[in-house]
Protein backbone atom coordinates (compact mmCIF):
# COMPACT_ATOMS: atom_id res chain seq x y z
CA UNK A 1 0.00 0.00 0.00
CA UNK A 2 2.61 2.49 1.04
CA UNK A 3 4.66 1.56 -2.01
CA UNK A 4 1.83 2.55 -4.25
CA UNK A 5 1.25 5.85 -2.56
CA UNK A 6 4.87 6.79 -2.69
CA UNK A 7 4.99 6.08 -6.35
CA UNK A 8 1.91 8.14 -7.01
CA UNK A 9 3.44 10.96 -5.02
CA UNK A 10 6.68 10.94 -6.95
CA UNK A 11 4.90 10.77 -10.22
CA UNK A 12 2.75 13.73 -9.36
CA UNK A 13 5.78 15.69 -8.31
CA UNK A 14 7.61 15.00 -11.51
CA UNK A 15 4.71 15.81 -13.70
CA UNK A 16 3.44 18.99 -12.28
CA UNK A 17 6.36 20.69 -10.61
CA UNK A 18 5.46 23.57 -8.36
CA UNK A 19 2.31 24.62 -10.17
CA UNK A 20 0.35 22.51 -12.59
CA UNK A 21 0.14 24.39 -15.86
CA UNK A 22 -3.21 25.60 -17.12
CA UNK A 23 -3.23 23.02 -19.87
CA UNK A 24 -4.60 20.47 -17.45
CA UNK A 25 -8.34 20.21 -17.03
CA UNK A 26 -9.71 21.90 -13.92
CA UNK A 27 -9.86 19.28 -11.15
CA UNK A 28 -13.35 18.20 -10.04
CA UNK A 29 -14.77 20.03 -6.99
CA UNK A 30 -14.19 17.04 -4.71
CA UNK A 31 -10.53 17.21 -5.63
CA UNK A 32 -10.38 20.98 -5.11
CA UNK A 33 -11.87 20.43 -1.68
CA UNK A 34 -9.13 17.91 -0.87
CA UNK A 35 -6.49 20.41 -1.95
CA UNK A 36 -7.89 23.19 0.17
CA UNK A 37 -8.16 20.74 3.05
CA UNK A 38 -4.49 19.77 2.67
CA UNK A 39 -3.29 23.37 2.50
CA UNK A 40 -5.28 24.46 5.53
CA UNK A 41 -4.23 21.43 7.58
CA UNK A 42 -0.60 22.06 6.75
CA UNK A 43 -0.60 25.61 8.01
CA UNK A 44 -0.80 26.71 11.63
CA UNK A 45 -1.67 30.25 10.51
CA UNK A 46 -4.85 31.29 8.76
CA UNK A 47 -4.57 31.20 4.96
CA UNK A 48 -6.25 33.91 2.90
CA UNK A 49 -8.67 33.12 0.10
CA UNK A 50 -6.30 34.91 -2.28
CA UNK A 51 -3.40 32.72 -1.19
CA UNK A 52 -5.53 29.60 -1.65
CA UNK A 53 -6.46 30.68 -5.18
CA UNK A 54 -2.80 31.28 -5.95
CA UNK A 55 -1.83 27.82 -4.83
CA UNK A 56 -4.65 25.88 -6.42
CA UNK A 57 -4.42 24.93 -10.11
CA UNK A 58 -5.80 27.44 -12.54
CA UNK A 59 -9.57 27.51 -12.86
CA UNK A 60 -10.28 26.30 -9.32
CA UNK A 61 -12.94 27.93 -7.16
CA UNK A 62 -11.46 28.30 -3.70
CA UNK A 63 -14.61 29.89 -2.26
CA UNK A 64 -16.83 27.01 -3.29
CA UNK A 65 -14.34 24.42 -2.09
CA UNK A 66 -14.19 26.23 1.24
CA UNK A 67 -17.96 26.16 1.57
CA UNK A 68 -18.01 22.39 0.98
CA UNK A 69 -15.17 21.88 3.40
CA UNK A 70 -16.83 23.99 6.05
CA UNK A 71 -20.00 21.94 6.05
CA UNK A 72 -17.98 18.71 5.99
CA UNK A 73 -16.20 19.69 9.20
CA UNK A 74 -19.22 21.14 10.98
CA UNK A 75 -19.58 19.52 14.39
CA UNK A 76 -16.33 17.60 14.14
CA UNK A 77 -13.37 17.60 16.53
CA UNK A 78 -11.61 19.97 14.15
CA UNK A 79 -13.55 22.75 12.44
CA UNK A 80 -13.00 25.29 9.71
CA UNK A 81 -13.03 28.87 10.98
CA UNK A 82 -13.18 32.10 9.11
CA UNK A 83 -10.68 34.71 10.32
CA UNK A 84 -11.11 38.03 8.56
CA UNK A 85 -10.32 37.26 4.90
CA UNK A 86 -8.61 34.03 5.83
CA UNK A 87 -9.43 30.50 6.90
CA UNK A 88 -7.98 28.19 9.49
CA UNK A 89 -8.56 24.70 10.88
CA UNK A 90 -8.95 24.80 14.66
CA UNK A 91 -10.00 22.24 17.29
CA UNK A 92 -13.55 22.55 18.57
CA UNK A 93 -13.68 24.73 21.69
CA UNK A 94 -15.91 22.29 23.59
CA UNK A 95 -12.98 19.87 23.69
CA UNK A 96 -10.70 22.35 25.47
CA UNK A 97 -10.67 20.19 28.59
CA UNK A 98 -9.01 17.38 26.61
CA UNK A 99 -6.14 19.54 25.47
CA UNK A 100 -4.37 20.38 28.70
CA UNK A 101 -1.08 19.09 27.34
CA UNK A 102 -1.25 21.56 24.45
CA UNK A 103 -2.34 24.54 26.47
CA UNK A 104 0.00 27.48 26.26
CA UNK A 105 0.88 29.65 29.16
CA UNK A 106 -1.14 32.79 28.51
CA UNK A 107 0.71 35.94 29.31
CA UNK A 108 -1.35 37.72 31.93
CA UNK A 109 -2.33 41.09 30.63
CA UNK A 110 -2.74 44.05 32.94
CA UNK A 111 -6.17 45.53 33.36
CA UNK A 112 -4.95 48.60 31.50
CA UNK A 113 -3.82 46.44 28.56
CA UNK A 114 -7.09 44.51 28.43
CA UNK A 115 -9.18 47.68 28.52
CA UNK A 116 -6.98 49.38 25.95
CA UNK A 117 -7.34 46.36 23.67
CA UNK A 118 -11.13 46.37 24.04
CA UNK A 119 -11.30 50.09 23.33
CA UNK A 120 -9.19 49.67 20.19
CA UNK A 121 -11.32 46.75 19.03
CA UNK A 122 -14.66 48.46 19.61
CA UNK A 123 -13.70 51.99 18.60
CA UNK A 124 -11.19 51.35 15.82
CA UNK A 125 -9.58 53.25 14.26
CA UNK A 126 -8.88 55.08 17.49
CA UNK A 127 -6.19 57.52 18.57
CA UNK A 128 -4.19 57.43 21.72
CA UNK A 129 -5.96 60.58 22.96
CA UNK A 130 -9.34 58.94 22.48
CA UNK A 131 -8.26 55.88 24.45
CA UNK A 132 -7.13 58.17 27.23
CA UNK A 133 -10.38 60.11 27.10
CA UNK A 134 -12.40 56.91 27.49
CA UNK A 135 -10.30 55.43 30.27
CA UNK A 136 -9.82 58.75 32.02
CA UNK A 137 -6.09 58.16 32.48
CA UNK A 138 -2.95 58.27 30.41
CA UNK A 139 -2.12 55.11 28.49
CA UNK A 140 0.77 53.79 30.47
CA UNK A 141 4.15 53.19 28.95
CA UNK A 142 4.46 49.77 27.47
CA UNK A 143 0.76 49.01 27.08
CA UNK A 144 0.64 49.81 23.38
CA UNK A 145 4.07 48.23 23.02
CA UNK A 146 2.82 44.99 24.54
CA UNK A 147 -0.29 44.81 22.38
CA UNK A 148 1.81 45.43 19.28
CA UNK A 149 4.25 42.72 20.25
CA UNK A 150 1.37 40.28 20.64
CA UNK A 151 0.42 41.38 17.12
CA UNK A 152 -3.10 42.07 18.28
CA UNK A 153 -3.03 45.72 17.21
CA UNK A 154 -1.33 47.66 14.44
CA UNK A 155 -1.21 51.20 13.15
CA UNK A 156 -4.15 52.40 11.06
CA UNK A 157 -4.45 55.52 8.99
CA UNK A 158 -3.60 58.85 10.49
CA UNK A 159 -6.61 60.83 11.61
CA UNK A 160 -7.29 63.87 9.42
CA UNK A 161 -7.59 66.19 12.41
CA UNK A 162 -5.09 68.78 13.63
CA UNK A 163 -1.85 67.09 14.53
CA UNK A 164 -2.84 64.17 12.31
CA UNK A 165 -2.53 61.63 15.12
CA UNK A 166 -1.81 57.97 14.37
CA UNK A 167 -4.63 55.53 14.96
CA UNK A 168 -4.70 51.93 16.12
CA UNK A 169 -6.74 49.04 14.76
CA UNK A 170 -6.91 45.32 15.59
CA UNK A 171 -5.25 42.66 13.44
CA UNK A 172 -6.14 39.31 11.94
CA UNK A 173 -4.12 37.62 14.71
CA UNK A 174 -6.45 39.29 17.16
CA UNK A 175 -9.45 37.81 15.37
CA UNK A 176 -7.74 34.41 15.24
CA UNK A 177 -6.88 34.47 18.91
CA UNK A 178 -10.39 35.34 20.02
CA UNK A 179 -12.14 33.15 17.45
CA UNK A 180 -13.83 36.05 15.66
CA UNK A 181 -14.76 35.99 11.99
CA UNK A 182 -14.45 39.73 11.77
CA UNK A 183 -14.36 42.77 14.02
CA UNK A 184 -18.08 43.16 13.34
CA UNK A 185 -18.64 40.00 15.38
CA UNK A 186 -17.27 41.45 18.57
CA UNK A 187 -19.65 40.53 21.38
CA UNK A 188 -22.26 43.17 22.09
CA UNK A 189 -21.00 45.49 19.36
CA UNK A 190 -24.43 46.30 17.98
CA UNK A 191 -25.97 47.00 21.38
CA UNK A 192 -23.10 49.32 22.25
CA UNK A 193 -23.45 51.16 18.97
CA UNK A 194 -27.21 51.50 19.34
CA UNK A 195 -26.77 52.82 22.86
CA UNK A 196 -24.49 55.50 21.40
CA UNK A 197 -21.60 54.29 23.55
CA UNK A 198 -19.23 54.04 20.60
CA UNK A 199 -19.79 57.63 19.48
CA UNK A 200 -16.93 59.95 20.05
CA UNK A 201 -18.52 62.72 22.01
CA UNK A 202 -16.46 65.60 23.32
CA UNK A 203 -17.15 67.58 26.41
CA UNK A 204 -19.64 70.16 25.17
CA UNK A 205 -18.15 73.51 24.38
CA UNK A 206 -14.62 72.83 25.50
CA UNK A 207 -13.22 74.19 22.27
CA UNK A 208 -10.17 72.04 22.86
CA UNK A 209 -8.54 70.05 20.09
CA UNK A 210 -10.62 67.08 21.17
CA UNK A 211 -13.65 68.93 19.99
CA UNK A 212 -12.74 68.32 16.40
CA UNK A 213 -13.24 64.63 16.78
CA UNK A 214 -16.95 65.07 16.48
CA UNK A 215 -16.26 66.25 12.97
CA UNK A 216 -14.57 63.14 11.72
CA UNK A 217 -14.06 63.32 7.98
CA UNK A 218 -16.48 61.18 6.04
CA UNK A 219 -15.10 57.90 4.72
CA UNK A 220 -14.48 59.26 1.26
CA UNK A 221 -12.15 61.89 2.50
CA UNK A 222 -9.56 59.38 3.51
CA UNK A 223 -8.80 58.93 -0.16
CA UNK A 224 -7.40 62.43 -0.16
CA UNK A 225 -4.66 61.09 1.96
CA UNK A 226 -3.40 58.92 -0.80
CA UNK A 227 -2.03 61.56 -3.13
Amino acid sequence: MSGNETQAGEQAEEQVGAQPPGLFPVPPMAEQERMVEAILFASAEPVSTAELSRRLPEGCDAAEALAHLRSRYAGRGVTLLRVGDSWAMRTAPDLAWLMHSEQLEMRRLSRAAIETLAIIAYHQPVTRAEIEEIRGVAVSRGTIDQLMELEWIRLGRRRMTPGRPVTFVVTESFLDHFGLESARDLPGLRELREAGLLDSRALPGTGGPEDDDGMEPPEGQSELFED
Binding site: E13, A18, F41, A42, S43, A44, E45, A88, M89, R90, T91, A92, P93, A96, M99, E102, Q103, L104, M106, L109, R111, A112, I114, E115, L117, A118, I119, A121, Y122, I134, R135, G136, V137, D145, M148, E149, R154, L155, D176, H177, F178, G179, L180, L186, P187, G188, L192, A195, L197, R201, L203, P204, G205
Partner: protein
Protein backbone atom coordinates in the same frame (compact mmCIF):
# COMPACT_ATOMS: atom_id res chain seq x y z
CA UNK B 1 -17.05 71.90 53.40
CA UNK B 2 -15.42 71.88 56.80
CA UNK B 3 -13.90 68.87 58.45
CA UNK B 4 -16.73 68.49 60.91
CA UNK B 5 -19.27 68.58 58.14
CA UNK B 6 -17.37 65.87 56.37
CA UNK B 7 -17.43 63.84 59.51
CA UNK B 8 -21.14 64.34 59.81
CA UNK B 9 -21.61 63.31 56.26
CA UNK B 10 -19.71 60.17 57.06
CA UNK B 11 -21.59 59.47 60.25
CA UNK B 12 -24.83 59.90 58.35
CA UNK B 13 -23.98 57.09 56.01
CA UNK B 14 -23.75 54.48 58.75
CA UNK B 15 -20.87 52.39 59.96
CA UNK B 16 -20.74 50.02 57.01
CA UNK B 17 -20.72 52.78 54.47
CA UNK B 18 -18.13 54.61 56.46
CA UNK B 19 -15.88 51.59 56.60
CA UNK B 20 -16.32 51.17 52.88
CA UNK B 21 -15.42 54.81 52.36
CA UNK B 22 -12.24 54.41 54.36
CA UNK B 23 -11.41 51.26 52.47
CA UNK B 24 -11.71 53.28 49.27
CA UNK B 25 -9.25 55.81 50.53
CA UNK B 26 -6.74 53.29 51.71
CA UNK B 27 -7.06 51.66 48.34
CA UNK B 28 -6.80 54.83 46.30
CA UNK B 29 -3.64 53.60 44.62
CA UNK B 30 -5.67 50.77 43.18
CA UNK B 31 -7.83 53.16 41.19
CA UNK B 32 -6.93 54.19 37.73
CA UNK B 33 -7.69 57.83 38.03
CA UNK B 34 -10.69 59.91 39.05
CA UNK B 35 -13.05 58.48 36.44
CA UNK B 36 -12.44 55.00 37.77
CA UNK B 37 -13.11 56.22 41.31
CA UNK B 38 -16.28 57.99 40.23
CA UNK B 39 -17.47 54.85 38.52
CA UNK B 40 -16.88 52.85 41.68
CA UNK B 41 -18.82 55.40 43.71
CA UNK B 42 -21.62 55.39 41.15
CA UNK B 43 -21.80 51.63 41.13
CA UNK B 44 -22.24 51.56 44.87
CA UNK B 45 -25.42 53.56 44.45
CA UNK B 46 -26.76 50.52 42.65
CA UNK B 47 -28.73 52.51 40.13
CA UNK B 48 -28.76 52.53 36.36
CA UNK B 49 -25.83 54.63 35.22
CA UNK B 50 -28.18 56.51 32.91
CA UNK B 51 -30.18 57.68 35.89
CA UNK B 52 -27.21 58.45 38.07
CA UNK B 53 -27.87 61.59 40.10
CA UNK B 54 -24.76 63.55 39.22
CA UNK B 55 -25.24 66.06 42.00
CA UNK B 56 -25.23 63.30 44.58
CA UNK B 57 -22.24 61.68 42.94
CA UNK B 58 -20.33 64.96 42.92
CA UNK B 59 -21.03 65.39 46.62
CA UNK B 60 -19.84 61.88 47.33
CA UNK B 61 -16.64 62.44 45.44
CA UNK B 62 -15.97 65.75 47.17
CA UNK B 63 -16.66 64.13 50.52
CA UNK B 64 -14.21 61.43 49.60
CA UNK B 65 -11.51 63.91 48.69
CA UNK B 66 -12.19 65.87 51.85
CA UNK B 67 -11.92 62.73 53.95
CA UNK B 68 -8.66 61.84 52.28
CA UNK B 69 -7.30 65.27 53.17
CA UNK B 70 -8.41 64.81 56.72
CA UNK B 71 -6.55 61.53 56.92
CA UNK B 72 -3.60 63.34 55.40
CA UNK B 73 -3.52 61.12 52.35
CA UNK B 74 -1.88 62.71 49.37
CA UNK B 75 -4.10 62.46 46.35
CA UNK B 76 -2.60 62.76 42.89
CA UNK B 77 -3.19 66.04 41.13
CA UNK B 78 -5.76 64.65 38.72
CA UNK B 79 -8.02 63.65 41.62
CA UNK B 80 -7.88 67.23 42.84
CA UNK B 81 -8.51 68.59 39.37
CA UNK B 82 -11.60 66.43 39.14
CA UNK B 83 -12.67 67.61 42.61
CA UNK B 84 -12.34 71.23 41.54
CA UNK B 85 -14.32 70.56 38.40
CA UNK B 86 -17.07 68.71 40.28
CA UNK B 87 -17.29 71.51 42.84
CA UNK B 88 -17.73 73.92 39.97
CA UNK B 89 -20.34 71.69 38.34
CA UNK B 90 -22.17 71.31 41.64
CA UNK B 91 -22.43 75.05 42.16
CA UNK B 92 -23.62 75.48 38.58
CA UNK B 93 -26.26 72.81 39.04
CA UNK B 94 -27.52 74.41 42.22
CA UNK B 95 -27.60 78.00 41.04
CA UNK B 96 -30.26 79.24 38.64
CA UNK B 97 -28.82 79.40 35.12
CA UNK B 98 -27.24 82.68 34.16
CA UNK B 99 -28.73 83.72 30.82
CA UNK B 100 -25.70 85.91 30.06
CA UNK B 101 -23.40 82.94 30.22
CA UNK B 102 -22.63 81.14 27.02
CA UNK B 103 -21.10 77.73 26.64
CA UNK B 104 -22.57 74.45 27.76
CA UNK B 105 -25.19 74.37 30.49
CA UNK B 106 -24.56 72.60 33.76
CA UNK B 107 -27.03 69.93 32.67
CA UNK B 108 -25.03 69.32 29.50
CA UNK B 109 -21.84 68.98 31.50
CA UNK B 110 -23.51 66.60 33.92
CA UNK B 111 -24.92 64.59 31.07
CA UNK B 112 -21.48 64.30 29.51
CA UNK B 113 -20.01 63.02 32.74
CA UNK B 114 -22.77 60.43 32.97
CA UNK B 115 -21.99 59.43 29.39
CA UNK B 116 -18.30 59.04 30.18
CA UNK B 117 -19.07 56.83 33.16
CA UNK B 118 -21.48 54.70 31.20
CA UNK B 119 -19.01 54.35 28.34
CA UNK B 120 -16.17 53.34 30.62
CA UNK B 121 -18.41 50.78 32.28
CA UNK B 122 -19.50 49.47 28.89
CA UNK B 123 -15.88 49.13 27.73
CA UNK B 124 -14.98 47.24 30.91
CA UNK B 125 -17.82 44.82 30.33
CA UNK B 126 -16.83 44.45 26.69
CA UNK B 127 -13.23 43.75 27.74
CA UNK B 128 -14.41 41.11 30.19
CA UNK B 129 -16.58 39.45 27.56
CA UNK B 130 -13.72 39.51 25.10
CA UNK B 131 -11.28 37.90 27.48
CA UNK B 132 -13.87 35.27 28.45
CA UNK B 133 -14.18 34.08 24.85
CA UNK B 134 -12.74 30.79 23.72
CA UNK B 135 -9.14 31.61 22.96
CA UNK B 136 -6.54 30.15 20.62
CA UNK B 137 -4.00 28.15 22.55
CA UNK B 138 -6.26 27.84 25.57
CA UNK B 139 -9.64 26.62 24.36
CA UNK B 140 -9.06 25.81 20.74
CA UNK B 141 -5.87 24.88 18.95
CA UNK B 142 -4.00 25.20 15.71
CA UNK B 143 -2.33 22.31 13.97
CA UNK B 144 0.39 21.07 16.28
CA UNK B 145 2.65 19.82 13.51
CA UNK B 146 2.30 22.19 10.58
CA UNK B 147 3.86 20.70 7.50
CA UNK B 148 6.51 22.39 5.46
CA UNK B 149 7.58 20.22 2.59
CA UNK B 150 11.25 20.67 1.87
CA UNK B 151 11.47 21.00 -1.85
CA UNK B 152 12.11 24.53 -2.94
CA UNK B 153 14.06 26.78 -0.64
CA UNK B 154 13.34 30.44 -0.53
CA UNK B 155 14.82 32.76 2.01
CA UNK B 156 12.56 35.38 3.37
CA UNK B 157 13.78 38.17 5.53
CA UNK B 158 11.57 39.21 8.32
CA UNK B 159 11.47 42.44 10.18
CA UNK B 160 8.72 43.78 12.35
CA UNK B 161 7.33 47.26 12.38
CA UNK B 162 8.47 47.60 15.95
CA UNK B 163 12.07 46.85 14.95
CA UNK B 164 11.82 49.34 12.13
CA UNK B 165 10.54 52.12 14.35
CA UNK B 166 13.03 51.34 17.08
CA UNK B 167 15.87 51.38 14.58
CA UNK B 168 14.79 54.80 13.43
CA UNK B 169 14.36 56.10 16.95
CA UNK B 170 17.79 54.76 17.85
CA UNK B 171 19.35 56.59 14.94
CA UNK B 172 17.59 59.85 15.54
CA UNK B 173 18.10 59.98 19.27
CA UNK B 174 21.68 58.73 19.26
CA UNK B 175 23.14 62.15 19.97
CA UNK B 176 20.66 64.73 21.11
CA UNK B 177 18.44 62.83 23.48
CA UNK B 178 20.80 60.53 25.28
CA UNK B 179 20.84 62.18 28.71
CA UNK B 180 17.21 63.21 28.55
CA UNK B 181 15.55 60.10 29.95
CA UNK B 182 17.95 59.88 32.87
CA UNK B 183 17.98 63.45 34.03
CA UNK B 184 14.27 63.65 33.97
CA UNK B 185 13.78 62.03 37.35
CA UNK B 186 15.22 65.08 39.08
CA UNK B 187 13.36 67.66 37.07
CA UNK B 188 9.89 68.71 38.01
CA UNK B 189 8.24 69.86 34.80
CA UNK B 190 6.34 73.12 34.58
CA UNK B 191 3.29 71.30 33.24
CA UNK B 192 3.08 69.16 36.35
CA UNK B 193 3.47 72.19 38.58
CA UNK B 194 0.68 73.96 36.72
CA UNK B 195 -1.59 70.98 36.94
CA UNK B 196 -0.92 70.51 40.62
CA UNK B 197 -1.36 74.18 41.46
CA UNK B 198 -4.60 74.45 39.50
CA UNK B 199 -5.95 71.38 41.22
CA UNK B 200 -5.10 72.64 44.68
CA UNK B 201 -6.44 76.15 44.21
CA UNK B 202 -10.04 75.12 44.67
CA UNK B 203 -9.26 74.01 48.18
CA UNK B 204 -7.13 76.91 49.20
CA UNK B 205 -8.69 79.65 51.32
CA UNK B 206 -6.32 82.44 52.31
CA UNK B 207 -2.65 83.18 51.85
CA UNK B 208 -0.29 80.26 51.85
CA UNK B 209 3.44 79.89 51.46
CA UNK B 210 4.44 78.80 47.96
CA UNK B 211 6.56 76.05 49.48
CA UNK B 212 3.42 74.39 50.78
CA UNK B 213 2.43 73.59 47.23
CA UNK B 214 5.51 71.49 46.50
CA UNK B 215 4.70 67.90 45.65
CA UNK B 216 5.57 65.20 48.15
CA UNK B 217 8.95 63.66 47.56
CA UNK B 218 10.34 66.97 46.33
CA UNK B 219 10.37 68.85 49.58
CA UNK B 220 13.70 67.84 51.08
CA UNK B 221 16.44 70.39 50.49
CA UNK B 222 18.52 69.62 47.41
CA UNK B 223 18.36 69.84 43.64
CA UNK B 224 14.93 68.19 43.51
CA UNK B 225 13.45 70.83 45.79
CA UNK B 226 15.08 73.58 43.78
CA UNK B 227 13.60 72.21 40.56
CA UNK B 228 10.13 71.82 42.08
CA UNK B 229 10.28 75.28 43.64
CA UNK B 230 11.35 76.88 40.39
CA UNK B 231 8.58 75.16 38.42
CA UNK B 232 5.94 75.90 41.04
CA UNK B 233 7.00 79.53 41.11
CA UNK B 234 6.86 79.74 37.32
CA UNK B 235 3.44 78.08 37.42
CA UNK B 236 2.21 80.60 40.00
CA UNK B 237 3.36 83.45 37.77
CA UNK B 238 1.46 81.91 34.89
CA UNK B 239 -1.70 81.60 36.99
CA UNK B 240 -1.26 85.16 38.26
CA UNK B 241 -1.07 86.29 34.67
CA UNK B 242 -4.33 84.49 34.03
CA UNK B 243 -5.86 86.29 37.00
CA UNK B 244 -6.42 83.13 38.96
CA UNK B 245 -4.07 83.77 41.86
CA UNK B 246 -2.55 86.68 43.69
CA UNK B 247 1.09 86.66 44.78
CA UNK B 248 2.70 88.51 47.62
CA UNK B 249 6.20 88.88 48.97
CA UNK B 250 6.69 90.99 52.07
CA UNK B 251 10.36 91.67 51.60
CA UNK B 252 13.34 90.72 49.48
CA UNK B 253 13.99 87.00 50.02
CA UNK B 254 10.91 86.75 52.23
CA UNK B 255 8.68 83.75 51.54
CA UNK B 256 6.46 84.14 48.51
CA UNK B 257 2.82 83.75 49.39
CA UNK B 258 -0.09 82.91 47.19
CA UNK B 259 -3.88 82.87 47.35
CA UNK B 260 -6.66 82.29 44.85
CA UNK B 261 -7.83 85.49 43.20
CA UNK B 262 -11.13 86.78 44.42
CA UNK B 263 -13.58 85.32 41.97
CA UNK B 264 -16.68 86.61 43.74
CA UNK B 265 -17.11 89.40 41.23
CA UNK B 266 -18.04 87.05 38.40
CA UNK B 267 -16.25 87.15 35.09
CA UNK B 268 -12.55 87.45 34.44
CA UNK B 269 -10.79 90.38 36.03
Amino acid sequence: MTASEAEEAFAGTGTDARLAEEALIVDVDGYEGPLDLLLTLARRQKVDLRQIPILQLAEQYLRFVEAARKLRIELAADYLVMAAWLAFLKSRLLLPPDPAEDGPSAEELAEHLAFQLERLEAMREAAARLMARDRLGRDFFARGAPEMVTVSRRTRYSASLLELMQAYARLRTRDEFRPYAYDRSDIYPLESALERLRGMLGHQGGWADLAQFLPPGWRAAGPRRRSALASTFAASLELAKQGRVELQQADTFAPIRLRPANRGGSGPA
